[in-house]
């Protein structure tokens, strides 16, 4: 049907939750001769788990993901999207269709090395997220699913908005740790046109982690934040800043968020043992049993810029 519409030369818009598309159509920012609603395509609304991977249909909503225990990082990213109305209607496919530079899901999926399944009259194909974002979806195609590896360790997603209430991110950060394969992945959204991976900081962290305990020294978590600030400062082109914002604040905040996110994943060990013996778990935020709500690294470091003492 998409193909038929496409061949007819008509401008076709795919409609999932409509949270981005409907306002765009209304303001005239987008025009469409036809709208194809995907809501009733039930195949798109399933999510599933294989031995190594998780597959999420394009029609799965944020609300569907919020409580998903198999992917706590994804659940957390979904939880902090918009308001409850947006979470109830907004979808994974829509997030990949809109490609908002600070989209929460996009930042998380970037850190999680996700792959995207698209379908067109020529068949289906899997592409790494980065390639998908570079090439886009074919004019007669659509996104049908996303696939990611089953979590192999703690994952954290944090962001900053413009107010206390739900708000799209100004800066977002996802950290995904794989304790089995000894990997640390960090993505920052909201600075460049697309979320960016922090390769240098990631390899630094990999070397600093004590993989047997899954911990990292306090200083290393701070340094991680500083490396993120440096990497983010080099991103180009940068997104234009919104009113009241500044580019250097965004870089600074990215470092603070990254340092805190890493610290939450890798329960940092102070060189002088100041760690309290017991801390409460924050199961929603990371892999159960690995995250702590409070840890010394969340303090200064990149995070220490301008902080008091």
């Amino acid at each position: 049907m998409l193909a038929a519409a496409h061949e007819s030369g008509a401008a076709v818009a795919l409609l999932s939750g409509g949270t981005d598309l409907v306002p765009a159509l209304r303001s005239g920012e987008r025009v469409a001769d036809a709208v194809v609603a995907l809501r009733r395509v039930l195949e798109l609304r399933v999510r599933g788990a294989g031995a190594d991977s998780l597959t999420i249909g394009a029609g799965v909503t944020y609300a569907d993901l919020v409580g998903w225990s198999l992917s706590p990082g994804l659940a957390r990213a979904a939880r902090v999207v918009g308001s409850v109305q947006i979470r109830n209607t907004g979808t994974v496919g829509g997030a990949l269709g809109s490609v908002r530079p600070a989209g929460d899901l996009l930042t998380y999926l970037t850190a999680a090395d996700a792959e995207v399944l698209t379908a067109s009259p020529r068949g289906t194909r899997w592409r790494p997220l980065g390639q998908f974002l570079a090439e886009g979806v074919e004019a007669d195609g659509l996104v049908t699913a996303v696939r990611l590896a089953r979590p192999g360790g703690p994952q954290v997603h944090v962001k900053i908005g413009g107010r206390q209430a739900a708000y799209p991110a100004i800066v977002s950060c996802a950290v995904v740790v794989d304790r089995v394969r000894h990997r640390v992945a960090c993505a920052i959204g909201g600075v460049g046109r697309l979320p960016a991976r922090m390769g240098g900081a990631e390899s630094f962290a990999v070397d600093e982690v004590d993989w047997t305990t899954g911990t990292i020294p306090v200083q290393a978590a701070r340094r991680f934040g500083d490396l993120v600030v440096e990497a983010v400062a080099g991103i180009s082109p940068v997104l234009p800043v919104g009113p009241g914002e500044s580019a250097d604040y965004r870089c600074h905040a990215a470092g603070v968020l990254a340092s805190r996110a890493l610290a939450r994943c890798l329960h940092p060990q102070a060189t002088r043992a100041t760690q309290p013996a017991t801390t409460t778990e924050l199961a929603t935020d990371a892999q159960p049993g690995t995250a702590r709500p409070s840890d010394p690294t969340a303090g200064p470091g990149a995070a220490g810029r301008g902080g008091g003492s």
């Binding site: 900053i160 206390q164 708000y167 009241g244 968020l257 220490g304 902080g307």
Partner: protein
């Protein structure tokens, strides 16, 4: 009396507003109506070389296209000075200025028609820096020049300074009223050559005067009815789409619906003027204020709007509610090519309250005094002479307010476990150990009603008759614009109390009754409330006189019937005359009607030295704010707000609470997020995505205490209550943030980037320790 004054009567339109049934101006439709839309200049300043509307007129479905050439009457309008063109003709002076309007069969066709209008602009260098437009070499942005008004208040004898001084410059951004229901009107051409408008406005009669002048019609032929208003806050005091809609309706000879979308709403009405303010305060070492100097620059934007009156408020309130022997308060309101600015809740006072309260905190620091103690020591009392020479009359319990608010219980400290309650909310993942708490206070006062010799009277008409079932009924007719402030309950409460009749209907507000004046300046409960009360008293007098005459009572009773007869619970009772007659019986001889016009006491203009008796009365408020700040991210959460306010007699406690909560929320918005940002004169964030408003998650519950000393010259002793809390909420929050982060804050709204150290050296080690900021502009004890 049930539902009389003093009771928490609920709004009659409350349920409809909550369940979506209420008809706002934008919901009005009639069969056959056309859709109006406005074309706006994209340039902050440009010569208009040519406008060609031929192509737009030829489009199928387009019924009318109007430009400056089609304005039959006066080409300009304005609240104080008529300098704003209905449409820009030779020169456009701000980005967003209307250039043409079209009417078409639907909104999409209207939009296409706008695109088909050809306008050749020749951009001119725009004057967008308010501190430069008065430079000798600055070009005149308008034939009348770049100065709207200058006020220079000199107070005190031979100048003296105290030994401790603080001075600094502050900046306040442009806050928008951001009411939720955008501007809308339905305009219908009438068979008599006139025009009927149903419009959401704050002042029907002022609209009528301006619409009639521009249409070249006698005022009787321009009839306005208030349509459902969804918020105003000053933003509907100026004309926006009224004249455009009327021109289109007359040109197309068809009903026009004209309604703004969000972007157009931001561009269409004048927001609160941004301000740059320099202050210098001096005090004795014991903490007695000796002198205050202020220099204010208010950016009025491209046209006058309310700027002269806003400036008068700002300058006369610049020293705050404090006794000061010497004051030199100077201010200018200037013309720029920024959007025209005008009236918004607080009307010039919020800006200066931010300035003088920041100064009081710094003075307290310099003196080593507690900030509340310093304010208590210096707060004005009735009988004190204000910098204008006006003697402060009436109650103004400033010190009591400070004591009350400081004694409110404090919230528990920030706690781990609930991210929702930490700065940044759920997603930011604030670290509770990096969260610092701050507490701040602000005291302020605000004038009530119109100032400087204005006789802004209010008229109301009241009729007492019997309904279809033969029960007594009061009908109140007033042109008072209900914009959410609560006249719809108060008018009924007054009528019930005065006439002892429970059934009160409020006639639609329209121009078939005399002017009620503007719903602004905290004035309607006092002014239109006074008019309703006066009319009710006159109705009672007439009815009682009629009853006395019919009962054959002596002439002295007929002349002064209230002395012998009273209306009690549906009956007219005259104890000494032995008379008792049901109200329904008394009214069976016909209805009774009366009109009353209420005037407040006369004030005077300011003379050349800024001296006079400019303000009718004042009301004060004191806020205490408690905030948490994430020191690394600069994110702020307002944890608690306490307010003690000087309210006069409370007519409706529930409505009072609504006003002070709303006022506090709007002040919170200005403190931490609300700013319409311009870049070279262009508004860059005219959407609710980029112009953020506080939501329920951002505004803590308000801990509120009312002080209820009656205002002697006001009906029932009321005071206006809606504006005062807006003036003090912002500086209290800014003070609390300053206390949390230990830096002086000179720009409002305060942004996260202002609270963290972004310098490269900021990466190493913690910076400020809670001591004062840099020496530049800091406290300078001598």
């Amino acid at each position: 009396m049930r539902h009389g004054i003093g009771q928490s009567v609920r709004r009659p339109d409350g349920p409809a507003k909550v369940n979506g049934a209420f008809r706002y101006a934008g919901d009005l439709r009639v069969p056959g109506m056309l859709h109006g839309r406005t074309l706006r200049s994209p340039h902050p300043r440009a010569r208009i070389v040519r406008i060609d509307t031929a192509a737009a007129r030829r489009l199928p479905g387009v019924a009318a296209v109007v430009t400056a050439a089609d304005v039959p009457g006066v080409a300009t309008y304005g609240l104080i000075v008529a300098d704003q063109p209905v449409f820009a003709a030779a020169e456009a002076r701000y980005a967003g200025e209307p250039v043409a309007a079209v009417a078409a069969i639907d909104a999409a066709t209207a939009r296409r028609a706008l695109a088909a209008i050809e306008v050749d602009y020749e951009p001119l260098p725009a004057g967008t820096d308010p501190t430069r437009v008065l430079d000798p070499d600055a070009p005149a942005l308008h034939p009348t020049g770049n100065l709207y008004r200058e006020i220079d208040i000199r107070h005190g004898g031979i100048w003296a300074d105290g030994p401790v001084a603080v001075e600094d410059t502050y900046r306040v951004g442009m806050q928008d009223q951001a009411f939720l229901a955008p501007e809308a009107a339905l305009v219908i051409p009438a068979a008599d050559g006139g025009v009927d408008l149903m419009v959401a406005t704050q002042w029907l009669h002022s609209d009528r005067e301006q619409v009639a002048a521009c249409l070249g019609l006698p005022e009787e032929l321009v009839r306005l009815t208030l349509a459902g208003v969804g918020g105003a806050f000053g933003g509907r005091e100026d004309i926006t789409l009224q004249i455009h809609g009327a021109l289109l309706a007359r040109s197309a000879q068809a009903p026009i619906r004209i309604a703004y979308d969000r972007v157009e709403s931001f561009l269409g009405h004048p927001p609160r003027p941004p301000a740059r303010m320099w202050f210098r305060h001096t005090a004795t070492r014991a903490g007695e204020l000796v002198s205050v100097r202020a220099r204010l620059v208010f950016d009025g934007g491209a046209y006058t709007s309310s700027s002269p009156a806003v400036l008068a408020n700002a300058v006369t309130h610049a020293a705050g509610p404090y006794r000061v022997a010497h004051a030199r308060l100077h201010g200018v309101a200037v013309r720029t090519n920024n959007p025209p600015c005008g009236a918004m809740r607080g009307f010039g006072v919020p800006q200066v309250t931010i300035g003088h309260e920041a100064q009081m905190d710094r003075l307290a620091d310099a003196l080593g005094l507690d900030p509340v103690e310093l304010r208590v020591r210096n707060a004005v009392r009735p009988g004190d002479v204000l910098p204008t020479g006006q003697v402060l009359a009436g109650p103004l319990p400033a010190r009591e307010l400070l004591h009350l608010v400081a004694a409110r219980p404090l919230p528990p400290p920030p706690a781990a476990g609930s991210e929702l309650s930490l700065p940044g909310g759920l997603p930011a993942g604030a670290d509770v150990r990096r969260v610092r708490r701050g507490i701040g206070y602000a005291l302020g006062y605000k004038n009530l009603l119109f100032s400087e010799g204005m006789d802004d009277s209010a008229m109301a008409r009241v009729r007492l008759d019997l309904d279809e079932d033969g029960s007594p009924r009061v009908r109140v007719h007033s042109a008072c614009a209900e914009v959410g402030q609560g006249f719809v309950t108060v008018a009924g409460q007054i009528a019930r109390t005065e006439l002892g009749v429970e059934q009160v209907v409020l006639a639609p507000a329209d121009t078939s009754v005399g002017s009620a004046g503007s719903t602004s300046a905290s004035r309607q409960t006092w002014m239109s409330g006074g008019a309703v009360r006066g009319a009710c008293v006159a109705v009672a007098d007439r009815l009682l006189a009629r009853v006395a005459r019919a009962a054959g009572l002596p002439a002295r009773v007929v002349e002064m019937p209230r002395h012998s007869l009273r209306i009690v619970a549906g009956e007219i009772v005259g104890a000494e005359a032995g008379l008792r007659i049901g109200l329904a019986d008394a009214l069976s001889h016909g209805p009774v009607e009366a009109e009353f016009t209420f005037h407040h006491r006369r004030t005077t203009a300011l003379d050349a030295a800024g001296q006079g008796d400019p303000h009718v009365a004042f009301a004060a408020a004191a806020h205490r704010a408690v905030v948490d700040v994430d020191l690394d991210l600069g994110l702020v959460r307002v944890v608690s707000m306490a307010l003690a306010q000087d309210c006069g007699t409370v007519l409706n406690p529930l409505a009072l609470r609504g006003q002070v909560e709303g006022g506090t929320a709007q002040g919170l918005g200005l403190a931490v997020m609300e700013e319409l940002v311009t870049d070279g004169g262009r508004v860059v964030n005219p959407t609710f995505h980029d112009y953020l408003l506080p939501t329920a998650a951002d505004v803590p519950e308000l801990d509120f205490v009312a002080v209820t000393e009656p205002q002697p010259d006001a009906p029932y002793g009321v005071k206006g209550v809606g504006e005062t809390p807006t003036c003090t909420a912002t500086p209290a929050i800014v003070a609390a943030i300053r206390a949390a982060v230990g830096r002086d804050l000179r720009s409002v709204p305060v942004r996260p980037r202002d609270l963290v150290d972004l310098s490269p050296s900021g990466a190493v080690g913690p910076a400020p320790s809670g001591a004062d900021g840099p020496a530049a502009g800091g406290a300078t004890p001598r």
